[in-house]
């Protein structure tokens, strides 16, 4: 436990936000995915809009996605690997933070530029705009907020450090809390001690996670890695119908 955080103490609000909310979101994500897979497999798609417009998509989409993939890797490293481990590997804290910041800012800027281009395209290309649902709009708002808070916070803290100021290390607050969630003993105090920008970004992240199963973002969960390992031509027999979405498995009907 983080002594500093202990000293700070934590109120009931902290309990709800950092002790209860993560589990609500977890249930939403897992339950939502299971539910969507069972009842809406037909709606589980990228809903690609490339047929309508590809000039801007060809720049925006890879920029956004590749940026985002780096950001995701960054989060995984930052949140899951304890600082003691990296220190044990001989990586000094300064080196770690400089590297993380460099990658983080570049990837974050790519992601933000990418999503900005995508949204601009979505608004200005007639057919793409008419194919945008309310669900999509909500998703874009939350997604952009998550990216902006994350990137803004990173830039702000980097600026403060450069100006010689001192900021708290998320690896002593956010990360322990994040890891503690998974062992079902949420370290509420650790998160409560984090600086407000971290809290804001974490909340945005939780909101984004909660939305994942219920928006077009589900496509991320079907990233087709299996493609690398299967033969090119797929054969299937007529009879081995898996239960279609919305139907439970049941005795196969007559042949057709």
């Amino acid at each position: 436990m983080n002594p500093e955080a202990e000293a700070g103490g934590s109120g009931p609000m902290d309990l709800v936000l950092w002790g209860v909310l993560p589990y609500v979101v977890l249930v939403l994500v897992v339950g939502g995915l299971v539910w969507r897979y069972r009842y809406d497999r037909f709606g589980w798609t990228t809903r690609s809009s490339e047929l309508y417009e590809s000039r801007l998509l060809r720049i925006g989409s890879p920029l956004f996605h590749f940026g985002l993939l780096v950001v995701i890797v960054g989060h995984v490293v930052g949140l899951l690997i304890p600082d003691t481990w990296t220190r044990a590997l001989g990586v000094s804290d300064t080196l770690y933070h400089v590297t993380a910041l460099a990658f983080g800012i570049v990837a974050g800027v790519c992601t933000l530029a990418g999503i900005a281009l995508l949204i601009w395209r979505r608004r200005t290309t007639g057919p793409v705009f008419s194919a945008t649902t309310r669900n999509d709009k909500l998703m874009y708002v939350v997604l952009v907020l998550a990216i902006v808070t994350g990137l803004g916070m990173t830039v702000y803290f980097a600026g403060v450090e450069l100006a010689g100021g001192h900021t708290g290390d998320y690896r002593e607050t956010v990360s322990p809390w994040f890891r503690s969630i998974w062992i079902l003993q949420p370290d509420i105090a650790a998160m409560a001690a984090a600086e407000p920008p971290y809290k804001l970004h974490a909340l945005m992240g939780l909101a984004l996670f909660a939305l994942l199963p219920f928006t077009r973002l589900v496509h991320a969960f079907s990233a087709p890695v299996g493609y690398l390992f299967r033969p090119y031509v797929v054969y299937r027999t007529r009879d081995s119908h898996p239960a279609a979405a919305g139907q439970s498995a049941r005795a196969t009907r007559r042949g057709w």
């Binding site: 709606g43 925006g60 194919a131 649902t133 087709p224 031509v233 027999t237 007529r238 119908h241």
Partner: protein, 594 residues
């Protein structure tokens, strides 16, 4: 696959004679042949196909069956140009095939934005007409017109292209000159109206033996059915990565822009499974389509598809087809679980007969290396037309043979379509068709049969007459030799069960309407058609008077097509004296002036 074919070839070499080579896994395919001489370009096939499969939002622009005029650009525009569209396979120097747009890793690396996907403009922007103004326009001096509206945005648009804009060489030399084949064989093709030639090419998905669309699908949603070779998209597994659109060299995969899923010709599998022909075949005005089973050696497909010289692909594919009358093939088919009635059906298959026995059917663009299974009898008509135009007898053997030799341009054009540019097989087919004409004319005129005409094209008189029977006379049952699917009782032939047909099982390629749905267009299970009809009926029976369908702007108008005779819909009858619209009799209330 390539490795297997390497060893396979080595084995064949060891044994010396390839006939001795053991038969690999036998598979059956329901395949099609179209006789282009008979196509009148009426588009009936396209329209009935559309009615059956794609008259839904999201696939307005999709024609699972389309008919294009050659020379012409085709649909989507210039799709045959694989330098541009990257469809089909390429043979690497080591003899292995990779999709032209790249192998697995490249596919995944470019998944976020497919670098070579045709845009909607390459097909055409679908539109409808603003019919409302026809009835709602205020009284004025000008006739109201229904102007075109984009089906994508609802905005007014200028109609500038469609699936068959250059039909019958419309648009003249400027458009036809964009034909990829014309560009390849260059200025030899004369496009001035006096000298040009023209024929129609109806196209559906080829249900290839070596389909690139299947190979390119990252989710494995596309598959080839083992029993009948039909290539289908599993709508529940498709995730909209849209790689298949690029991969298919025939551009016969369509991206449904509303559901975000790929759709394609289904070979009308619910019909074929119960022994009925596809809709396009059933309704073909020229009766030029043939359906039948072809048995093939699945283990040899990879090897045949990767022969080095593109011009050998036609022969290589013929070599993969197995002769169902051969007892060894029958035994192997039984070994591999193919029902005897399928093998019997294959014996009577018109497709096998036209492709392999008479060798008058050719594959479309074998150089794409997908081993297409919809074959074509190339048209003799460009040659006959020219002959008659110049005052010659278009049915005399000598004239015809001479003309085939003289009129190289149509022959070269056909060779680019059907044999990767090799004119010899096309020559042979045209000669056989020409021989058939002259031979049969003698028979019809009561003259002596002239066996020399037959031998000149390497056939016998009997064979010519058989071929004639198939090409000219064949009735329904001879044109469509489709066995019912494995597991379907022969007694069920022709019965598509109304509840529980496989369409609503798979979600078909999308059934039913697209209502308001929570996760974006078309998520959720669409209602089964029966459920929709049920609600529509109930609404009609219980709602007051006519079913106006609740459309805005139709107040005071009654759609007589929907009116079932119940009630007195508002606006249909003049008000009675007492007012009100009771249901009582007295229909005699005259339509007098108010």
């Amino acid at each position: 696959m390539a490795e297997r074919s390497q060893t396979g070839r080595a084995a064949a070499d060891r044994e010396g004679r390839s006939e001795e080579r053991p038969i690999g896994r036998v598979m059956a395919q329901v395949a099609m042949v179209m006789n282009l001489d008979k196509c009148i370009g009426c588009h009936t096939c396209s329209v009935t196909c559309k009615q059956a499969w794609t008259n839904r939002s999201g696939v307005e622009y999709a024609w699972f069956n389309n008919v294009e005029t050659r020379p012409g650009q085709g649909y989507p525009r210039a799709y045959q140009d694989q330098e541009r569209w990257k469809g089909g396979w390429v043979r690497r120097p080591d003899g292995r095939l990779v999709p032209r747009a790249g192998g697995r890793i490249k596919r995944l690396a470019t998944i976020f934005a497919n670098p070579v996907m045709p845009s909607i403009q390459d097909y055409y922007e679908p539109w409808t007409y603003d019919y409302e103004t026809l009835t709602n326009a205020p009284l004025g001096d000008d006739f109201p017109v229904a102007s075109p509206r984009s089906a994508l945005t609802g905005k007014p648009m200028k109609v500038e292209w469609s699936a068959n804009w250059d039909d019958d060489l419309a648009g003249g030399p400027e458009l036809a000159a964009q034909d990829p084949i014309v560009r390849r064989i260059g200025d030899k093709v004369k496009l001035s109206f006096e000298e040009t030639f023209m024929f129609y090419l109806p196209r559906i998905c080829e249900h290839c033996l070596n389909p690139t669309c299947v190979a390119a699908c990252p989710s494995g949603a596309l598959y080839k059915r083992v029993e009948d070779g039909i290539v289908l998209v599993d709508q529940d597994r498709c995730r909209g990565w849209r790689m298949c659109v690029t991969a298919c060299p025939y551009k016969k995969i369509y991206f449904n822009h509303k559901t975000g899923k790929a759709e394609k010709c289904t070979f009308c599998y619910p019909r074929v499974e119960v022994g009925m022909p596809t809709i396009c075949s059933e309704t073909c005005v020229g009766r030029l389509r043939y359906l039948g089973v072809v048995l093939y050696d699945a283990d040899r497909v990879g090897e045949a598809a990767s022969v080095e010289d593109e011009q050998d692909l036609y022969e290589a594919q013929l070599g993969v087809f197995l002769d169902p009358s051969d007892p060894r093939v029958r035994a192997a088919a039984r070994r591999d679980g193919i029902p005897d009635r399928w093998v019997d059906s294959a014996v009577r298959s018109p497709v096998y007969a036209l492709a392999k026995r008479f060798r008058v059917a050719l594959p479309l663009h074998p150089e794409f290396r997908t081993m297409p299974m919809v074959w074509y009898v190339p048209p003799l008509s460009p040659v006959v037309d020219t002959l008659t135009r110049t005052g010659h007898d278009g049915e005399e053997a000598g004239n015809l043979f001479g003309a085939i030799d003289a009129l190289r341009i149509p022959v070269e054009y056909l060779a680019e379509l059907f044999t990767a540019g090799d004119t010899a097989p096309v020559d042979l087919v045209l000669r056989r068709l020409a021989a058939m004409r002259s031979y049969m004319r003698r028979v019809n005129l009561g003259q002596e049969r002239d066996e020399t005409i037959a031998t000149a094209v390497g056939m016998t008189g009997t064979e010519i007459e058989d071929m004639y029977r198939l090409l000219a006379l064949a009735k329904y049952d001879e044109r469509y030799v489709v066995p019912t699917a494995f597991g379907v009782d022969e007694a069920d032939r022709g019965v598509i069960e109304e509840v529980g047909c496989s369409l609503d099982f798979d979600g078909g390629p999308g059934m039913g309407g697209m209502g308001d749905v929570p996760f974006g267009e078309a998520s959720g299970r669409p209602d089964a058609a029966s459920v929709e009809t049920f609600h529509a009926l109930r609404e009609r029976q219980t709602s007051d008077g006519a079913a106006t369908g609740g459309r805005a702007g139709t107040d005071g108008r009654v759609n007589l097509l929907n009116w079932d005779g119940n009630g007195r819909p508002e606006g249909l009858f003049p008000p009675r004296d007492g007012g009100g619209t009771d249901n009582g009799g007295d229909r005699g209330a005259g339509p007098g002036p108010r």
